[in-house]
């Protein structure tokens, strides 16, 4: 066995047009270890790993694999060098079986049948070696996200990967599923595989890595032994200065309920039930934080409230019912009722990227008589108002004629937040307010949200970042599989308790949280949660739902 490091990168640089994504990066990963790469969104982590996997070609720098200088012009070369990669967005063919996906690109010969037979046998062996159980004949579209991720890992192992790169692997997993994944990674490490874990979650780094590199704005700021560092130190390295993990705010003074949701259900176009009888209320002068793993119905709830989706059930706003499926169930009508909406995905929903900032400043409110000039739109008036808005909300550069796509993520978000807050809504829906936003803008946006609360407005905050929920919300509700698992004051919520609820579990850890109501739907289970059983249950529900179509 050689002692050469599994991976060594020297002086890697990469630019996309005018953006320098990676600047002179060097890194060294020992064989048989788990190495973390941590950094904010847009710090250049994914770009670096894509270079290692031959997806992009570096402008400068050298790559050594197992001590050998290696050129990786394409993925083929990466695979040949023993590198496997699990992307954040899975690269699976949805209407193929697990087996076909594993075989694709690693076939034995020109004919398919023998390749599939070999792969079937190999999958069986891998399943028993690493606990990676997946039905080889299941079609990808029919299995859960956790299972799909296993298929991605199996693909890499089937190609004899010695080095496994995982890009933000837990973003779509429940904490329990993530634990399961980490156990698998532990076994892989024990077998001598080298693992690179890319994440922006400090907890994961502390939990499972041996060494960690921190990236900031395309540069590598430090590489340290995990055992010798602390989350605070890593956070500082990530953002380059001391971070306020807590937001300054006074206790909430909640008033009357503004929004009341009763028994809300949603079935999507594929026939899958996304919301199952959700009941919630948000009061004036409070922030309700909705926590949960991505994809458990939070997005659908926001879309229903924002008028983008139809639903059954009952919603009242200031005591008056809201149309959930008829002529008035669209974004225009919701805005007319005093609901502002900062959507989860500003680039696909909240903004028209080629539109100028002034055009975007009335997006959704373009029917307002204030912006009309006879049959035409009052473009000059809108532009003047947008200029004023940009000055007040510190949007940089403050040029209303610039297209939205030319602003940074944080400033794009400020444009959206400014537009929605400036309309003085009674209720503000706000989804993932700080996703892909730099720290400075995060603080600004958080302050705006709290200021709005202090004016006596109701705020529904959806975020997959538990830290954000815990620092902003006055009250927290947790969603799992389209249901509310529990609800209670933010002050008494614990990370562990919320983690259990996010996995649909209601054990002792959740009962310790005072003032909390735990739903009957949460499965009471002592000890370690059994992930495979929950998965099986979900798959069953999923299959039932599909059959109903």
């Amino acid at each position: 066995m050689t002692t050469a490091p599994a991976i060594e990168l020297r002086g890697i640089s990469k630019a996309f047009g005018p953006v320098q994504a990676n600047k002179d990066i060097s890194i060294l990963v020992e064989r048989g270890t788990i190495h973390g790469i941590i950094g904010e969104n847009g710090a250049g982590k994914s770009t670096l790993m894509s270079i290692l996997y031959g997806f992009y070609k570096a402008d400068a720098g050298e790559i050594f694999i197992g001590g050998q200088k290696t050129e990786i012009p394409d993925s083929q070369a990466a695979i040949a060098a023993g590198i496997g990669m699990v992307f954040q967005h899975f690269k699976l063919v949805e209407n193929f079986t697990v087996l076909e996906n594993v075989v694709l690109g690693a076939e034995d010969g020109r004919l398919l049948r023998p390749s599939l037979a070999t792969a079937r046998a190999e999958l069986k062996a891998l399943a028993s070696d690493y606990g990676l159980n997946v039905d080889p004949d299941a079609v990808i579209a029919d299995i859960g996200v956790g299972q799909q991720q296993r298929v991605e890992i199996l693909k890499a192992l089937y190609r004899q990967a010695d080095i496994l790169i995982l890009d933000e692997p837990t973003g779509v997993l429940t904490p329990a599923e993530a634990d399961q994944l980490f156990r698998i990674l532990g076994r892989l490490k024990a077998e001598g595989k080298t693992i690179v874990l890319i994440t922006h979650k400090l907890r994961e780094i502390m939990e499972i890595t041996d060494t960690v590199s921190v990236m900031r704005r395309g540069e590598m700021t430090a590489t340290v032994r995990t055992a010798e560092t602390s989350p605070t130190e890593l956070a500082e390295l990530m953002v380059g200065r001391k971070v306020l993990l807590r937001v300054d705010k006074t206790p909430a003074q909640p008033g009357a309920p503004i929004l009341e949701i009763e028994n809300l259900s949603v079935t999507d176009s594929a026939g899958v039930q996304r919301l199952r009888g959700v009941s919630l209320n948000v009061r004036a002068g409070e922030i309700l934080g909705l926590a949960g793993v991505a994809g458990n119905g939070q997005s659908e709830l926001l879309e229903v409230l924002g008028g983008m989706r139809t639903a059954t059930g009952r919603i009242t706003m200031n005591g008056q019912p809201i149309d959930l499926g008829g002529r008035h169930s669209d974004g225009q009508s919701r805005r007319a009722r005093g609901i502002g909406h900062v959507p989860e995905d500003r680039q696909r929903e909240g903004l028209i990227m080629p539109y100028s900032a002034w055009e975007n400043s009335v997006f959704g409110y373009h029917h307002d008589p204030r912006w009309q000039n006879g049959p035409l739109m009052d473009n000059a008036g809108i532009e003047a108002a947008a200029q004023d808005q940009m000055d007040r909300f510190d949007v940089r550069p403050p040029n209303p004629r610039l297209a939205a796509r030319n602003f940074s993520g944080g400033n794009q978000q400020k444009i959206v937040v400014a537009r929605e807050i400036d309309r003085n809504p009674d209720l503000l829906l706000i989804g993932q307010p700080t996703r892909g936003v730099d720290i400075g803008a995060i603080e600004f946006i958080h302050k705006q949200i709290i200021a709005l609360r202090d004016q006596g407005k109701a705020i529904l905050l959806v975020s997959v970042e538990l830290d954000e929920i815990l620092s902003l919300a006055d009250r927290v509700a947790v969603m799992f599989d389209g249901q509310i698992m529990g609800e209670g004051p933010a002050g008494s919520a614990t990370q562990v308790g919320l983690g259990c609820l996010m996995a649909g579990l209601g054990g002792d850890d959740t009962r310790d949280m005072s003032g909390w109501t735990i739903s009957d739907a949460a499965i009471i289970e002592e000890g370690t949660p059994d992930v495979s059983r929950i998965e099986a249950q979900l798959a069953e529900k999923h299959a039932d739902a599909s059959k109903e179509v």
């Binding site: 993925s75 690269k91 949805e94 694709l104 690109g105 010969g109 004919l111 398919l112 049948r113 390749s115």
Partner: protein
């Protein structure tokens, strides 16, 4: 309708289905790989002209066929350049190719032959001759089956048999070979193919090349077998009918055979009868002409089984982080 007439209509169905089938399978390869192709018409037309022109000049139908295939594949390469290499709009590229073929064929035909945009008539070795299958003449006297074999199965030109053999061949390639697996994958999720270390560009060019090859044969068949020479705009919308058949078949080879036979049959009937008297209503010939298109719209509307195209179809592949 007597037996002889029915046999004649069916016989003409087979002959008229052949170019549709070849073009439809051509489109199948391309679209299954994620490259939409509304330029089938243009490729066929180009091939029809060059096969007829070269067959006339050399006197060899085989050299004509080669020239036809080459010209069709050249247009395929252009489509590939626009839609794969330069990630342009595949639909617009297809439209351009159709016009390019419509214009160039007449332009060159006029320059070479000065007969108002047509080639001289082909005779002898410059055309495909009908083949008589073994025992066809001997068995002709057997009632029903004899004439059926003699008229319907036997007595067609070589490309006809080739076209029908292409159906099982396409099925086999698509579902039983490594190439087929990759081809289907690249039309559904090119990123999966790319990360598996296979060239998306290479696969798509291969698919587009096969498409050109089959369109070339279809065009050559039109000008050197079905008819004797090239005339202006001789494809007459067959490329679009093939496209309709492909949607009708939901991008599957055996269904493609069925839909092409159906549309071929409609053409055969429209060719034979001006109006069809069904007692209370008379179907005008124009209705028969429009029927393939109407049926396709109905299928597209999803009232009779939904046609779901390959997921990555029409979208150029751009690597994403």
């Amino acid at each position: 309708m007597d037996f002889a007439t029915a046999l004649q209509i069916l016989d003409s169905t087979v002959r008229l289905s052949t170019p549709l089938l070849l073009a439809c399978l051509a489109g199948l390869f391309s679209e299954r790989a994620g490259i939409f192709d509304i330029g089938l018409e243009g490729k066929m037309l180009m091939a029809a002209f060059f096969s007829a022109a070269v067959a006339f000049v050399t006197g060899s139908v085989w050299l004509g066929m080669l020239a036809g295939i080459a010209s069709s594949m050249a247009l395929s390469a252009l489509h590939g350049l626009a839609s794969i290499t330069f990630r342009g709009n595949q639909l617009i590229s297809g439209v351009a190719i159709n016009f390019l073929a419509a214009g160039l064929t007449v332009l060159i035909a006029q320059d070479w032959f000065s007969q108002g945009g047509r080639t001289p008539s082909l005779i002898g070795q410059a055309r495909f001759e009908p083949l008589t299958l073994p025992l066809a003449d001997t068995l002709q006297t057997v009632p029903i089956l004899g004439p059926l074999y003699h008229e319907l199965i036997s007595g067609h030109t070589l490309p006809v048999y080739f076209a029908f053999l292409c159906v099982p061949a396409t099925w086999w390639i698509l579902y039983r070979t490594r190439f087929g697996l990759r081809l289907r994958a690249v039309g559904e999720n090119p990123a999966a193919v790319d990360t598996a270390g296979i060239s998306v560009i290479g696969l798509r060019y291969a698919a587009v090349a096969i498409c050109g090859l089959l369109c070339g044969i279809a065009g050559a068949y039109l000008a050197t077998a079905l008819q004797a020479g090239f005339i202006k705009d001789m494809t007459a919308g067959r490329g679009y009918i093939a496209l309709a058949a492909l949607i009708f078949a939901k991008w599957r080879p055996w269904y493609a055979l069925m839909s092409c036979l159906l549309f071929g049959f409609l053409q055969a009937v429209a060719l034979r009868y001006q109006n069809i008297d069904l007692g209370p209503v008379t179907l005008p010939v124009q209705f028969m002409d429009a029927l393939p298109y109407i049926l396709t719209v109905v299928i597209l509307a999803g009232f009779v089984g939904r046609a779901i195209p390959p997921r990555a179809g029409g979208e150029p592949y751009v690597k994403e982080r």
